[in-house]
């Protein structure tokens, strides 16, 4: 069924009893042209773009739990392309362009709201960095606007204007950035991929890979039997090391815990996505009224999906410096996801050294916003056996070649990115 105003009116008169399931729940077949491991945002979107752009529809998406149960449902939903490096901006800007038409394309409301992302700076050095990054964005065709102190405070009235130690000097605004509804992205891509023929198979855990006589990958072993495949595409960020370890591949990657927070619902008071230039804090407000915010990774290898208290304290302290009026707002929930922290902070979207095996992983802070663009490029890479120019920099050999994509200059320490 196509979702539209007429289907909504029709269902309203039937007491909403006639909505069909958004996607099928098929049993796995014996063979697929492409098996995608991981039913998160990237895996589901890859299935969609394989069908839409490359007419590859005999595709299965295998998900260990239920779709949307991993990081696609655990992030803070921010979408932006205000990056620094010429190697990373094109991918994220292409992703943002796909976001702009996504609800219409998927016939599913992902509630993409272009409310802007505002990076506020508090020192002369930070202003120089903001000007440099803004110029890098503009030369790459991305929208960037420098705001002065008054413009920032007009836009964000709750920001402390009397902070003597860290005065607000201005901000770098990307007006086309914003946020979206994360669950809808998983469900929307799942429904769209299913309608084009892909099988979405939940509760199906990959336990190993099948190999041919020359070491090539020929399929996967799962808890629901063996499935042969022309190509296998892995999109399991958070557990990429675990899955690639099944074929003996060691990656430049560690798994870390990244926390997020949401407060009780309050009246509209934050109408953009704002970042605090001191410490690490970003904040937006959901349509329900909850203030959604977060900080840095916990900083050490962890698969726990729960955060530590020092980061809670760190984020709360930053909040009190940034927007002290929120000090009395109560925290509603606090959770964590397991992310792939790579040695340069950037992802992998590439072929692997093993024939027929493709990798989309290494996602940490960038994973959600990159879903449309990265999956679009990943589908291109899987279909053609070669990368698109947007994802060409994100191959595994970049470290050995001395070409890391390291925007922060943090060096080979995953918790510095």
């Amino acid at each position: 069924m196509r979702y539209s105003i007429s289907s909504l009116v029709k269902q309203a008169f039937r007491g909403h009893s006639g909505w069909p399931e958004a996607f099928r729940h098929p049993e796995p077949a014996k063979h697929y042209d492409v098996v995608i491991v991981g039913g998160g945002g990237h895996g589901l979107a890859t299935a969609y773009y394989l069908a839409k752009n490359h007419e590859i529809t005999n595709v299965a998406v295998l998900e260990r739990g239920w779709i949307g149960s991993g990081n696609v449902g655990r992030n803070t939903t921010i979408v932006r392309s205000n990056y620094l490096l010429n190697s990373e901006i094109p991918l994220l800007e292409w992703s943002l362009k796909l976001w702009e038409g996504l609800s219409e394309e998927l016939n599913y409301n992902v509630m993409f709201s272009q409310r802007g992302v505002l990076d506020i700076f508090h020192t002369d050095g930070q202003r120089d960095e903001a000007v440099r990054r803004g110029n890098a964005m503009i030369v790459n065709g991305v929208d960037a606007v420098m705001l002065d102190r008054k413009q920032v405070l007009d836009m964000m009235p709750l920001v402390d204007e009397n902070n003597g130690r860290y005065p607000v000097l201005g901000g770098l605004l990307q007006p086309r950035a914003g946020n979206a509804r994360h669950d809808a992205v998983a469900w929307g891509y799942a429904r769209a991929a299913d309608r084009m023929g892909a099988d979405i198979i939940q509760n199906c855990e990959v336990t190993g890979f099948c190999r041919g006589p020359n070491g090539e990958v020929t399929g996967v072993e799962t808890n629901r039997g063996q499935i042969s495949a022309g190509k296998v595409a892995v999109a399991v960020a958070g557990h990429t090391s675990q899955v690639m370890g099944m074929v003996g591949m060691k990656l430049p990657c560690e798994s870390h815990t990244l926390q997020a927070f949401v407060s009780e619902a309050v009246k509209p008071c934050v109408n953009t996505v704002a970042t605090f230039g001191v410490g690490h804090l970003y904040i937006s407000q959901s349509d329900k009224g909850g203030l959604v915010f977060g900080g840095m990774v916990d900083g050490y290898n962890s698969y726990t999906q729960r955060g530590n208290l020092p980061i809670v304290e760190d984020v709360a302290e930053a909040m009190m410096m940034f927007m002290p009026a929120l000090g009395r707002v109560r925290l509603l929930r606090h959770w964590a996801g397991v992310v792939d922290m790579t040695m340069d902070g950037s992802p992998f979207i590439c072929k692997t050294p093993l024939e027929n095996l493709y990798l989309n992983g290494g996602w940490n802070y960038t994973g959600f916003k990159a879903i449309p663009g990265a999956a679009w490029c990943f589908a291109h890479t899987v279909a053609n056996g070669a990368p698109h120019k947007f994802n060409a920099p994100f191959h595994l050999d970049r470290f050995a070649e001395g070409r890391p994509v390291d925007a922060t200059g943090g060096g080979p320490f995953p918790n510095h990115h």
Binding site: L251, C253, Y300, T304, F399, A400
Partner: protein, 88 residues
């Protein structure tokens, strides 16, 4: 999470800095490039038992080897990288 420092006793996480996998070893001088790439960049990233380096920066400053489970955060063993003879 609290880390039992052999010199200072159990101290909160905020006093320590994490320095990653303690099982990687620096190659010999003149080793092939692949060994250096592996040393600098590649990690086992296990889900479970992990041997790692921490430094007690806000305490005694010691470099420590910590055996910690990445799934439960249980710490089973902490030792100085270079034993000082002062451990409790």
């Amino acid at each position: 999470m609290r880390i039992p420092c052999p010199l200072c006793g159990a101290r909160p996480l905020e006093e320590f800095v994490y320095r990653g996998d303690a099982t990687v070893t620096r190659p010999e001088e003149g080793a092939p490039m692949e060994e250096w790439v592996s040393y600098v960049y590649l990690r086992n990233n296990p889900k479970g038992a992990h041997r790692e380096h921490w430094r007690h920066v806000a305490g005694c400053g010691s470099w420590l080897i910590v055996d910690r489970n990445t799934l439960t955060h249980e710490i089973t063993r902490v030792a100085e990288v270079r034993p000082s003879g002062d451990a409790r």
